[in-house]
Amino acid sequence: MSNINDINSKQVDIKLDIFEGPLDLLLNLIKENDLDIYELSLTKITEQYLEYVELLKEIDFDDIGEYLVVAAELARIKSRMLLPDNDAEDEIEEPEINLVEMLKEYKKYRALSENLQNRELLGRDTFKRPADLSLRSNTLWEVQKTDIWKLITSVKKVLQLENYKQVPDIEIESEPIDHAKRKKEIIQNFGIRKIYKFSEIFDLKFGRDNIIVTFLIILDMIKEGVVEINENKEEIEFEYKEG
């Protein structure tokens, strides 16, 4: 039997390339706040950006470094804007990255990826012969529809809610959550019902660690294409797709 440390280190190992990076997060925040890509806009969303980074830290996210580089740059822009004009040039060093330019460039490619997604896709919209009927054939394709940031936003809200319930100054040595066991539970649940509401999966009464582990498992299932998110409902729904 593997010990608890093994299980925990495995959790950390999950590489979530499902996240599209700090620029994607910034663009989402800019859009959500109905702003354009300017330095001034960036100062307005800095706080929100940092909240997401906090959440990513909490799930032991591998690529956090890239998010921190952007966080530092956001802080730099903000501090420069607070200084009077004359001082600004002398005291603030040259930026390592030009975020506004990066965002503008990145946005073009994100638009291109949307264009690709909407093209007539072989194996999704059109089919050729000979139809390759083998499992996971090269002629059948689909595209991930889910916007992960919407899910993350909901998880973030739950975790913030949960803060209020925490009793300060009392530390309870809570039992680490078994990742594999929780995953089994989730899959078993989906065996009973194909669709679950967000609040049914992320149940507060099991605590913060459980929410984070569940979140990681769900992300993994979305990545595998086993679970799809329906975002258009009032509350996010998870739909289980047969493997």
Partner: protein
């Protein structure tokens, strides 16, 4: 019935990848312009017919494909799990399609994030390939899109992708207002 048009039709019909007009011309020992004309007639004929299939110009060649209207029917009929492309994967694919040949570092720089996972998946799915090494220290791999990429995304050539500078345009308009 053994007209030139019907011969061409038969060749396109049995091929599992798009057939180029030059390939057909060489095989039949005919002038490529003549072949091209016949193919255009075939395309028009299939369009006019009350049929579920078309001949389409894909990846520089010609291929029989089902019409969009039948996608739900056929997805249900085939009933297999398709390859899944993540949003990150599509992003990397778009960057490679536009900038090819391109190194991973250049891709990472545009996305502000490491793209190794997406690149590996795209290679495995044969949508991109390594085409060489860049003549800089470290000699990083250069990536390009494949013929399969054109086929999957219904493109005749890379040039058929939209001009991405247009995507940034309304931003410039907003700028001039200030």
């Amino acid at each position: 019935m053994e007209s030139l048009k019907n011969k061409i039709e038969a060749i396109i019909f049995i091929s599992d990848t798009p057939v180029k007009s030059k390939e057909i011309a060489d095989f039949l020992g005919e002038n490529e312009v003549l072949i091209r004309e016949s193919i255009n007639e075939l395309i028009a004929a299939w369009n006019e017919m009350d049929s579920s299939i078309n001949i389409e110009e894909i990846a520089g060649g010609f291929q029989f494909r089902t019409k969009d209207t039948f996608k739900d029917l056929l997805t249900e009929y085939i009933n297999k799990k398709p390859y899944r492309l993540s949003r990150a994967g599509l992003e990397v694919l778009g960057i490679i399609a536009k900038k090819q040949p391109v190194t991973k570092i250049e891709i990472d720089k545009i996305r502000g994030v490491d793209s190794v996972g997406a690149i590996n998946v795209l290679i495995e799915r044969e949508l991109i390939k390594v085409v060489g090494e860049k003549e800089v220290p470290g000699r990083p791999y250069l990536y390009s899109t494949t013929e399969l990429f054109l086929e999957v995304f219904s493109l005749n050539s890379i040039k058929d992708l939209p001009d991405i500078e247009e995507f940034g345009e309304y931003e410039k308009e907003a700028e001039s207002e200030i």
